[in-house]
């Protein structure tokens, strides 16, 4: 009792020949189907090279095209031949010319010997599979597909549309429940011969002739009729990518393939010399009999598909440039934007750096320079402090910054004096934590040593810019974590909001008492605002400031540490 192989070959015949020889030498009959589109010379050479092996045969040739019944016909022909000519064969293993045995045949033989009546064929109903290509799952069984998907795509699609439009449905032959699965099965003589010699085979064949991709459903469906013991998995390791084409194995997969303990793998790059050398050498080693375990390879390929379809969040590069809304993460990591804080508190950046333990920059979008933490001329990723370079693409500057510093939270100051182009990027970014003290920009203005007329003009301009910015931050499309206080409100009770923001940045530091930052001197600010009003400008963003200076509840806070919990 032994296992026999049927092989479907259409390219890289020299590799198929090597594999066939490998099996034949070890006493396994092989029946080879060579695609009719292979040249006569190539076919003849292969036949000649394998002539010395009496257990290698070639069956009738069909011209095979992907997705059509011709592949089933080829398999039928090869199966019929192997059952007829090699009566000792108990299991028939369907393989392709780009398959490679990973374990010695004795191990496969022993494995099958222990399971003499088991059919290894992946066979699942259409409702349970997610991998059907082209959006056609159950319909492949009830529509007709007379046109080639590869060569006559237009006709194929129109014909499908037409049948859908008129609700044309085929009747399934009696007793059939459509199943799908990998075409690389291993069936027992009993099951396979029952399928091939069924008196109703004509009916089934006529039906499957117009099913789409019947090689994935013919044997998978019919085996359900006759087998008593179906193990619904393939012994061949074969993975498909998101386009529905098989992943290819190369030399660098050698260790992965070795450790997978699968019997056969597909598909091997024909020029992977190292793999062919390694696996086709007859191994005499006695490794423990292990169950196939393709988990590692599964993960590798699943990750590859993930990278191709979802990509890395926050990355913009030559082969990933998402349309708006498709970024799956506009930026790479969470970051915090502080507006008005460095104006209200003395040396706020140093304080924040200490409290939050993250990187705190100054005004990254300041008009005259990029205020990187520590005043560095260059930052992570060789990001330059040149404002011209930054303003060439302000959004890219921020996305680059977060990408380059993944793993370390960035905080920076922002305000109406800065380049405003990133407003929408920040507002729509769930990674952004934006805290705004509106009107705080007036504090430096208040202290500046310039003519009042100039101050008035600057105030009007900055107020307008900040108003627009705040409008953006309050739009319904905002995804950022936004907190907005007016200057007056914030000054009245500064510690609670500060604590909130800090907790969000460093959730683990909850129990640390926070030391209040020093607020700048506000005496006379109320009068300054009144002067602006008197000059005809209406400061609105600061909130209600009293004219006289006394009642600033914030003042005592700076003298003692503020304790939470």
């Amino acid at each position: 009792m032994t296992v026999g192989f049927i092989m479907l070959c259409h390219t890289a015949l020299h590799r198929a020949e090597q594999v066939a020889r490998h099996w034949a030498v070890q006493g396994c009959p092989v029946v080879i189907h060579v695609d009719r589109s292979v040249s006569q010379a190539g076919y003849a050479r292969m036949v000649e090279n394998l002539a010395p092996f009496e257990n290698v045969r070639f069956c009738a040739r069909y011209r095979c095209e992907w997705g059509t019944f011709s592949l089933v016909e080829a398999m039928q022909a090869a199966s019929a031949m192997i059952l007829r000519e090699f009566p000792k064969v108990r299991h028939v293993y369907a393989a392709s010319g780009s398959c490679m045995p990973l374990r010695p045949v004795e191990e496969l033989r022993a494995y099958l010997q222990e399971r003499p009546h088991t059919d290894f064929i992946e066979s699942v109903t259409t409702a349970d599979v997610a991998w059907t290509a082209g959006g056609i799952s159950y319909e492949r069984f009830v529509l007709r597909f007379p046109f080639s998907w590869r060569r006559q795509r237009w006709l194929f699609d129109r014909w499908v549309d037409l049948q859908r439009l008129f609700a044309m449905r085929r009747k399934l032959p009696e007793g059939i429940v459509p199943h799908l699965g990998s075409q690389w099965w291993c069936l027992t003589r009993q099951t396979l011969s029952a399928i091939l010699q069924d008196p109703r085979r004509r009916i089934y064949d006529d039906y499957f002739r117009y099913v789409w991709i019947p090689d994935e459903s013919y044997f998978q469906t019919l085996a359900r009729l006759y087998s008593n013991d179906i193990e619904s998995r393939s012994l061949t390791l074969s993975k498909f990518d998101f386009q529905g084409k098989p992943h290819v194995f190369y030399d660098d997969h050698l260790q992965l393939l070795r450790r997978s303990d699968c019997f056969v793998a597909r598909k091997i790059w024909p020029r992977a010399d190292k793999l062919y050398r390694h696996f086709l050498l007859r191994e005499t080693g006695t490794r423990p009999r292990a169950e196939p375990n393709p988990g590692k390879i599964d993960r590798l390929f699943a990750k590859a598909i993930e990278q191709r379809t979802r990509g890395r969040a926050g990355l913009y590069m030559q082969s990933r440039f998402p349309n708006p809304g498709w970024e799956n993460g506009r930026t790479a990591a969470p970051y915090s934007v502080f507006e008005g804080f460095s104006e209200l508190f003395e040396d706020f950046e140093t304080w924040l750096g200490k409290m939050a333990g993250s990187r705190v920059h100054g005004h990254l979008y300041a008009p005259d320079r990029v205020e990187f933490a520590g005043g560095d001329p260059v930052f992570n990723g060789a990001l330059s402090a040149s404002p011209a370079l930054r303003d060439h693409n302000p959004n890219a500057f921020l996305t680059n910054l977060t990408w380059n510093t993944r793993g370390e939270r960035q905080c920076f100051q922002f305000g109406p004096r800065d380049n405003q182009e990133i407003s929408w990027l920040i507002a729509g970014d769930p990674n952004a934590q934006v805290s705004v003290i509106t009107g705080a920009w007036a504090l430096p203005l208040f202290r500046a040593n310039i003519d009042f007329g100039e101050k008035r003009r600057a105030a009007a301009r900055l107020q307008q810019i900040e108003t627009e910015h705040v409008q953006v931050l309050r739009s319904p499309h905002v995804k950022a974590r936004v907190r907005i206080w007016s200057l007056a409100d914030f000054v009245a009770a500064p510690m609670e909001p500060l604590q909130q923001v800090l907790d969000e940045i460093t959730p683990r530091a909850l129990h640390r008492p926070i030391v209040a930052p020093r607020m700048v001197d506000l005496s006379g600010f109320g009068q300054f605002l009144q002067n602006l009003r008197n000059q005809g400008m209406q400061p609105t963003l600061m909130g209600e400031f009293p004219l006289n200076d006394e009642p600033f509840p914030a003042l005592p806070v700076r003298r003692r540490p503020y304790l939470v919990k």
Binding site: M317, Q318, D376, V378
Partner: protein, 336 residues
Amino acid sequence: MNIIEKYGLRLSRKRARLRAYRKGLQLRSVADRTARIGGRDILAFTTLRNERLRLPYFLNYYRDLGVNHFLMVDNASEDGSREYLAEQPDVSLWSTTGSYKRARFGVDWLNRLQMRHGHGHWCLTVDPDEFLVYPFCDTRPLPALTDWLEASALRSFGAMLLDMYPKGPIDAHPYREGQDPFEIACWFDSGNYTIQRNPRFDNLWIQGGPRARVFFADEPAKAPALNKIPLVKWHRRYAYVSSTHTLLPRGLNHVYDVWGGEKTSGCLLHAKFLHTFVEKSAEELERREHYAGSREYLAYDRALKENPDLWCEWSEKYINWRQLELLGLMSKGNWA
């Protein structure tokens, strides 16, 4: 994109091909070994001028990757490049004394050669100072990539230009013939690139790197483009429009994903900043044969007088392709 714009692109392509025919007349065959090109060979196309020093390493690098034949245009070299190349068994060489600038920086010449010899082949178009790095290039030869691209129904492969530079003055360590240039120029900028989409040709316009940082910090809009599509399964109707940045038909430029995923891409390591650069930029400034009135070389000349160090604290030292892929400069995509 409406029909008129599409037709405009078609005309651009036709014009590029006509130019290729016309400028192709300037080419004189020095060594034509194209009869040896096999049906599935990978071809490399290059124009050069006075690159004798770099050629041995360049040829060997691509031979090792799996390039089967080199088709090269020598633009009036005076340093023995032509004689050296004419002796190589896998090089077909043409020479011309025509203007590099008027042949649109060599594009017309190469378009002509690609039209004639590239049809049906995977064609790699690189300068002698550009070295292709792609995912798994240390374990899989170039045919593995092209086979996979073909199976995935992809016709073109993007590889961004990555400027490599030494630490210290550019001319501190002279480059020796046959040496790996990245033993000297082994640093690069990892995360200061900006991207814009060009709606007309549907390609990305990438700028940044050390050239933008040091030479174009005040006028970044003028910084050189770094996006390149050097590897194409050629059809005689295709044409490069400006250097290897842009191709027509425009579908070939779509080497990036817009639905959040990553397509497979590589990098062209650019060994421009070796000691030869100082000499070369002085010469190019005189010849004025480069893009946009050689403004790039004007900028270099200005900056080089101060003998700048392109290296900075945040420069990254090159290790291998996996490092570039982790940094997000290139991607494996779904090639695993």
